[in-house]
Symmetry: C2
Subunit: 137 residues, 2 copies
DNA sequence: CTATTATTGATATGAATTATCAATATATGA
DNA sequence: TCATATATTGATAATTCATATCAATAATAG
């Protein structure tokens, strides 16, 4: 028989938290589970997040310079990160055509995918910054 | 007077190595300088790579899960990373239109830029893999 | 129910980068 | 040229995020 994955409570808990959060980090998933199930280990959370994202049940969002985020939404979309507060939001409806094929023809690589992250300032932080510059006058 | 940057030998050495390398890591820059100038500190290399990339003299290529690379080529282009050997190559001639503006309209963010990394298998590793599958028959 | 082994919790380890701080060297301007 | 202010350095500690190790435990096939 093929070595099957096992449906452990820990794995179900990790999946549940991801399904009920927006773009959680491993740390957030760990702390959230811990309130109801204090025995869970951080390593277990990391292991299950990896397994679930490798399996395609959830999406891993690697962020350069900070902790990876995970996403319950596995449809094609991108993300924007706020450089002020670290917020992360979906960018839907962006059609880049077949950039993977373009990159493949360009380089000779067999392209399996790409990572695209936008950086900027979220509406909330923009508002705060505008307020501040008013105060300073 | 404005607090000016100083043109230290260490800074010049870091700049030189980046200008004469393809996509070096901080570690590579450090080791390369060290052969001629053994007193240089790794922290100094990191500090100068940050300063030079913030200043726009060089480009920082953040790679999720591995060490950042730096690029002497500051023109608009992207990169492909080989998942087998870690090689990194330029992807030129990719026109994504004004995706930053699209993302901005989509999210309400003020977008300052984006990071796009392609993942795949470089031609050399493809060749090795083909050889192997032939051997196995 | 039992045997196999995937998975867990605890913890050590690792890689990459930043922070700290006294000593030093660079640029300004007298 | 020389003195001064301070940006920068080297050495090293600390941090962050993540993976490796390993004996104990628990999930599943038969």
């Amino acid at each position: 028989m093929a070595a099957a994955n096992r449906n452990t409570i820990q794995r179900k808990l990790v999946m549940n938290v991801v399904q009920n959060s927006l773009h959680p980090t491993a740390e957030y998933v760990y702390k959230t589970i811990k309130t109801d199930y204090p025995d869970i280990s951080l390593g277990t959370v990391y292991r299950n997040l990896s397994l679930l994202s490798n399996r395609g049940d959830i999406l891993k969002i690697p962020l350069p310079g900070s902790a990876d985020r995970f996403d319950r939404d596995i449809s094609l979309h991108y993300h924007a990160v706020c450089s002020e507060c670290g917020a992360i939001d979906d960018v839907h409806g962006l059609d880049l055509g077949d950039i993977d094929m373009d990159a493949s023809q360009n380089t000779g690589y067999t392209i399996s995918g790409h990572t695209l992250i936008f950086t900027g300032i979220c509406p909330e932080c923009q508002a705060k910054i505008s307020e501040q510059s008013l105060m300073e006058e």
